[in-house]
Symmetry: C2
Subunit: 428 residues, 2 copies
């Protein structure tokens, strides 16, 4: 039996999928007995279809795929939460399995999509939605299910990781790093989703839902991006023995689950600290397996297509063997989301302050008032005359207290000269 597949979206990842099928169709048959045929390709852009050599099966109307009764499986690669959602829900409605790379959609409308799939006894696979080519959803839904997962910590956005790597290596400013990432095709013209941590938030929402068996949506995630990071802070952190990464993290406690994205200082010895450039890595801790990490290329045509086509081939196997979905949604529990205000971290803080006596005492008094204990304080000159960098590393403190302390320090008369301080949370 030949499984017939329709593809919606012919951008980078779609092109990669067409490429894989062209190169390995015969291997899939010989090694795995999987007989797969790309029957129809939909795109807004006829030139892309010609470029990928699929003009003979091309359409601009995705309904041609939904309405084709021979198509068993639809690959959705247009992204976003608009048309993509219609494509997926209509494909399921028409009795077709779905494979998607759409993190934003799975992190916001996952429940609705899974409900529809369950109602129709169909599969929805989405390995490519997190970590590009890195197998992580498969391992979490299969290999690691004997564990209770206690935490997940990942570098899941290649764009920002590239920028931070360049800021560290070459001392680039945020703006310079962004421009370079855009020039090299690692960042989009509108970089908001990446640099504000929204892309990472969608991914950690998906991973948390699977790991903790409890629905986490994008709205549940506290997300802070890298716009305010300064190469000075990255260099200071390195001197203190830390790397600065945009980390997506989630953990479970007796009170609920914490799901967050923010710039984070991690010890240089930590496995995640050496994940540089566009690479991604996801670190998971389970009660039996202990620490485990998955590393690879987080974006790009090949890696994402590897994940999409891995899902496609797996669903094809099931279709050929007449196997009903083995694992659907596993969000059976309803764990509360812990508020950011209650979070506890060590903090790195850098204020630009007036270079005069009494400033340290004034700030130290405020920390003391909010029970924030300071581990170290360093003062260094800046380019500006009459101003110095005042850098604090604190012991563990409550986010609520830290925010109030910062507000009070900013309100001190004639003390802070550089506006908002740099705030980086420390995880060690």
């Amino acid at each position: 039996m030949t499984v017939k597949v329709g593809l919606v979206g012919t951008g980078t990842v779609g092109g990669g999928c067409i490429e894989i099928l062209r190169n390995h169709k015969e291997d899939f048959k010989r090694h795995y007995g999987i007989d797969i045929e790309l029957t129809r390709v939909c795109s807004r852009n006829p030139e892309q279809a010609i470029e990928h050599g699929v003009d003979d099966i091309f359409t601009q109307d995705y309904q041609d795929i939904i309405n084709d009764p021979d198509i068993d499986l639809v690959i959705e690669l247009i992204g976003g939460t608009g048309v993509a959602k219609n494509v997926i829900l209509e494909a399921l409605g028409a009795g077709k399995h779905v494979v998607t790379a759409n993190k934003a959609l799975m992190a916001t409308a996952g429940e609705e999509i899974f409900a529809k799939a369950a109602e129709k006894d169909l599969e929805v696979a989405f390995e490519a939605s997190v970590g590009g080519g890195i197998p992580i959803i498969g391992p979490l839904k299969h290999s690691l299910i004997a564990n209770e997962i206690s935490s997940i910590m990942g570098i899941v956005n290649g764009t920002t990781n590239y920028m931070l790597t360049r800021m560290e290596e070459a001392g680039l400013s945020y703006d310079e790093a962004l421009r370079e990432a855009q020039d090299r095709g690692f960042a989009e013209a509108d970089p908001t989703a990446d640099v504000d941590g929204l892309d990472a938030a969608a991914k950690i929402a998906i991973l948390s839902s699977i790991a903790f068996n409890s629905r986490v949506t994008m709205d549940d995630v506290y997300a802070e991006g890298i716009r305010n990071l300064n190469p000075v802070d990255i260099a200071m952190a390195k001197d203190m023995g830390f790397a600065v990464k945009l980390v997506a993290l989630a953990y479970r406690s007796d009170e609920g689950v914490a799901v967050r994205v923010h710039p984070t200082m991690i010890p240089l010895e930590h496995q995640l600290a050496t994940v540089n450039g566009v690479f991604n890595a996801i670190f998971a801790v389970g009660d039996a397996v202990g620490e485990t990490m998955f590393f690879g290329e987080g974006a790009g045509s090949g890696p994402a297509a590897s994940a999409v086509m891995g899902d496609v081939l797996e669903v094809c196997r099931h279709i050929q063997m007449g196997i009903k979905p083995i694992v659907g949604c596993t969000c059976m529990d309803e764990l509360p989301i812990l508020s950011m205000e209650d979070a506890k971290y060590k903090y790195y803080l850098r204020f630009v302050v007036a270079d005069r006596s009494g400033v340290l005492a004034a700030t130290a008094n405020i920390f003391a008032k909010y029970q924030i204990s300071v581990q170290s304080v360093t003062q260094r000159g800046t380019k500006a005359r009459n101003a110095v960098d005042l850098v604090f590393l604190t012991h563990t403190a409550e986010e609520r207290n830290m925010r109030q302390a910062i507000d009070e320090i900013l309100a001190l008369e004639g003390v802070v000269m550089g506006g908002e301080p740099s705030v980086i949370r420390v995880v060690d």
Copy 2:
């Protein structure tokens, strides 16, 4: 439907499995609908059964499990290629699925076991045979199948990695590192399988068979262990920018596949270079996914039991749903094994030589004769009077030539004073 499971072997890993079932039986039912019951436990050792609280279902005769018609699945955890093979083949013969952690057996008798399983339409799962708790066989058999895998490189033996880490960190000798590993329970009284690279050889044979779709058995693997490694070499390597690891590697070329285990110098920036202590990591390269790595604890009760029970739960899912085996043996191709003599590497070599003029010229002449180009040579004093360390780093050379050159250098009169040289292959 309750799936009934029999366990053979109550050592470290068996104990870990019993523990997981005790802690998470209800979670498996609630989250995944998997209803599993440990029905019978076999061990040579009644005290272990009592210790694990399974004396009520205990037997010393594995036939009690084979002959129990209610048991659907047998977990084999006794290890070795003797009784374990009978347990597995008899279990399959009696119509029971098998989960095993037995690398030596899978790397030698895999073909026979898979044939028996295929004949009876049963599953054989063996995730725990490689990399402890790290999901690697699952990803290779599922998530990554859209790729042609070109190479695999791994640190897959925790004992030797612990020893090498201690030799590097603390300058311990091989003997001291071994004694410490034994004291801490990381090495057995007879460490042969670990230190001579046989354990790693079995693991890379298994991974290669899956990655290259071609049967590789333990006999096909060139294996060299760490007995001859000296902390001096590890320190020298570090100065040159390399870590020394016992690496299992396999790659595919147009001529066939190379499958090898040997001490290896890898650049300090490589992801594998920072995998220390008892941790394992497996690095795989695919044509679509690019570089990907899987990291975690390579041994111990919890990690190995995580992998075993992950397999058990997956097979249980299939049994409950009446699903026939989805993936069996995929060794459809018959690729030749490349000989070690034809291998090409850069080499690190350290000879202890007489401290007199003419020695460097004599050795250099021999390298030249065998077309071995030297990248750098360093001479350093040793503790012994009249002797110095002569350390070469070569450009890429053929193993065959290198062996002949070493033999000729050893035969030079009055030159080499320290016996066999240290030879470490460099992969960069």
